[in-house]
Symmetry: C2
Subunit: 147 residues, 2 copies
């Protein structure tokens, strides 16, 4: 975030669900954190730290605090699925890259991603409504560019 004159009150929020993932991958904390780190680096954001919780009997939540906001995953091994979001303030980062890194690491059978532009258009001073920009529904193969 680093709110200063260079950082506008606006950003892009990616919401997504990935389906059809092998269950053991969704309980592998190191794999999940490594994929998030790789994606955060590719997005141009800066990772300040992870808060990670492994649930019993299964499932992992990882919250990444970014200088530009946050990224999270919540995994459901019994469903072969996870929830993902990544929000980056300003216009410098590409949070969809984080989703791409997860897709590369986890090879889901299907992914739904939505991009929401948030905040104020400081060019005009007018608040932007929280509007949907795009909805992706991809039947993914090994590697898919989602944006």
């Amino acid at each position: 975030m680093v709110p200063n004159e260079e950082h506008l009150f606006q950003g892009i929020h990616i919401l997504g669900e990935l389906y059809g993932i092998e269950a053991e991958l969704l309980d592998d904390v190191k794999l999940l954190e490594d994929a998030l780190k790789e994606g955060i680096e590719a997005s141009g954001a800066t990772l300040c730290g992870f808060q990670t919780k492994k649930f019993e009997p299964q499932g992992v939540t990882i919250l990444g605090l970014l200088s530009e906001s946050h990224a999270s995953i919540h995994t459901y091994p019994d469903k072969g699925a996870l929830f993902f979001d990544a929000f980056t303030c300003g216009d410098r980062c590409q949070p969809v890259r984080i989703a791409e890194a997860l897709i590369k690491a986890l090879k889901p059978g299907k992914s739904n991603l939505k991009s929401v532009r948030r905040g104020e258009d400081t060019g005009t001073g007018a608040p932007l409504t929280l509007e949907s920009e795009k909805v992706f529904t991809e039947e993914t193969s090994e590697s898919v560019s989602v944006c």
Copy 2:
């Protein structure tokens, strides 16, 4: 989250921006954490822990890891504004209560809140698209019910 048979792969994600807040409130970590705690309790969710970062020269990010997913704020004292989101899996919690607690504590001049239903409709097995349900634009007075 606690993914088990009682927890469906679905949930509600609230995205919001609050505007017109006194700058010093947006740098007050204790006030912000207390408001989030109060809201999380009211929502019916369980807080596992906060990850908090105070930025220089100003601004705070707080990520709350919930048993049911997460809640976050990113404040911009120089803009008198903050970004908020709260995601709760399952159908037991009301994440909008967290936004209401922030509104009560910070008394913004305006709030934009959006509710997004996410995940799979396990009744039919069909994935739900990430659809917008409602957009609120409230000129808030002391206390506003946003949902």
